[in-house]
Symmetry: C2
Subunit: 75 residues, 2 copies
DNA sequence: CCACATTTGTCCGTATGTATC
DNA sequence: AGATACATACGGACAAATGTG
């Protein structure tokens, strides 16, 4: 029974790939919660859960009032 | 302006410390969602968010119907 | 200085599914 | 069959920071 990944993980993986492929570079701004939610056909809550994971992993950083940005990662 | 950490991070940190201090060892069972929520005076939703982070970090593993357990393996 | 809109961040309650006992 | 417990998803309500007018 191949259960597909949870929605929030699909978003996590999608964004991670965009970063690793270079489509999104350090300092680049990600779509807003609402845009990300719409793009992946999930609720805003779910998009937020995904971004919380990405923040915890250190891939992105959020700035209130401005947006979410790809971490300038030396690594 | 040290604003204090978010509730879900407090739970993450508390559990992490219990693991690192040896109070909780590999294979040990954590409190249930409801118990964890009560102990830290947060909602079940918030406790779940904390455990999702801990799972993502690889510190614990959830098993449906059974419980959440400290991962067997360091690193 | 103030009002407003935008956007991220947090918290909660509920519903539903899945697995175990 | 029923109880327990983890897992996912959603929507609503605010707070905090930013930018604009």
């Amino acid at each position: 029974m191949p259960s597909r990944p949870a929605d929030y993980l699909r978003v996590v993986n999608a964004v991670t790939e965009q970063i690793e492929s270079g489509e999104l570079g350090p300092g680049d701004k990600l779509p807003t919660y609402a845009q990300l939610a719409e793009q992946h056909k999930v609720s805003v809550s779910t998009a937020q859960a995904a971004l919380r994971i990405l923040r915890d992993r250190g891939l992105v950083e959020g700035q209130q009032g401005k947006g979410t940005f790809v971490t300038e990662h030396p690594r």
